[in-house]
Symmetry: C2
């Protein structure tokens, strides 16, 4: 399965501005991208980054310490600095839709779209995404988003604006594509807001969790859910 990984390279993760400055947000977004690419490769799939600006994967996509590489295959660390990067400055939906129109994916040649901020993605979670049925398989994000898709229908198109999970179900119905929903906590967790950092610290197994710890972000117990705070 080929996997497209859209990545906002220029001003990523603005909603994390209360915790991380602009340079830190770029570094953290790069660490998450690396984790996602490693999970996809370790699961045996080919990925391509669809970025809004050039990305140097040798700089952003490797974990901070080599002996801490979390993803290995046959005990060999998975590296991703050779993943192809396509630059498309347009907004997310037209860029993805051009790729869908060019590829015309079907059951024999599906195309997946996996967001670059799924810091909890593991090879196992990617396996479950790939194994889902349906002409369109959707892993919803919290708050109505679409975090990962597998498209096996040549006419399906995306619209990530607003409550895209519902919109993508409707878009699939319009072209006669049936939908499978992937029930994954890991894939539902896109990292946009400070509260999401707690999930990375709790469940992350890769470079993004390491990066947060190195930056002094830690878990803080509260009366309700655990939160992330920075010293």
């Amino acid at each position: 399965m080929d996997v497209l990984v859209p990545f906002a390279a220029e001003r990523p993760k603005t909603r994390l501005g209360a915790v991380l400055d602009a340079a830190e947000r770029r570094a953290f977004a790069g660490a998450m991208l690396g984790d996602v690419l490693r999970a996809i490769r370790a699961a045996g799939h080919a990925s391509e980054v669809l970025a809004t600006a050039p990305v140097d994967l040798s700089a952003v996509a490797d974990p901070p310490a080599v002996d801490d590489v979390p993803v290995t295959v046959d005990d060999v660390p998975v590296t991703v600095d050779d993943v192809p990067v396509t630059v498309d400055e347009r907004p997310l939906s037209p860029a993805v839709n051009d790729a869908l129109a060019a590829r015309r994916p079907d059951a024999d040649d599906p195309l997946a779209v996996v967001m670059a901020d799924l810091a909890l993605a593991t090879p196992g979670a990617i396996d479950r995404l790939a194994a889902a049925g349906g002409d369109v398989a959707i892993a919803p994000g919290r708050g109505g988003g679409t975090n990962a898709l597998v498209v096996r229908h040549p006419e399906f198109r995306v619209d990530y604006h607003g409550a895209s999970f519902r919109d993508h179900r409707a878009a699939a119905a319009r072209v006669g594509a049936d939908v499978d929903v992937v029930d994954s906590f890991r894939l539902s967790t896109d990292v946009d807001e400070p509260a999401d950092l707690a999930e990375v610290l709790l469940h992350g197994e890769g470079a993004a969790a390491d990066w947060l710890r190195d930056a002094g972000v830690s878990l803080a117990a509260t009366s309700g859910r655990v939160e992330a705070r920075r010293e």
Copy 2:
């Protein structure tokens, strides 16, 4: 598999106070309890409610409209008004631990603990919980909680206070129990805060989602994640 469903019967869901008044919170909590019990029964498991006060399941656990019952087996609606209710006024952890001590669950006779506010629980999600391996299988909640457990080890005990997911991993290690983590968005979604209501409206298939819609709670698009609002 036997399933214990703890339920705070007296003052449930206080963190929803900005949207629902006390009587509404009780009714909504009852609707969620009914959905959870129906999902467990439809998946073929026996449940028992562990409540802090008496609960009339004939009043709370059936959907508002019979022709809208979402869970059926062989086209017969699943009813749950005969599920046994045990009243234990103590806090959650000692009440559950007494049940674990009395049952001494093992691989042949596991005991599951599933929270009553998992409004997105489906028979399929309960199936995946039951199929998970490990002496202890944990479905984490958002923010570090423990939303569902399957215990197959006689010495494991719970402590739901604070970041219980981590604590339960440690508690399992202390008694030599290995842990499997269940990767489920549905089981990760406990409904505690107003933002969680959006998930019920987006993905709920049962009485809780119906109840919210009848109460005038609907989805509101924002710049980030979709939110729930009340007219």
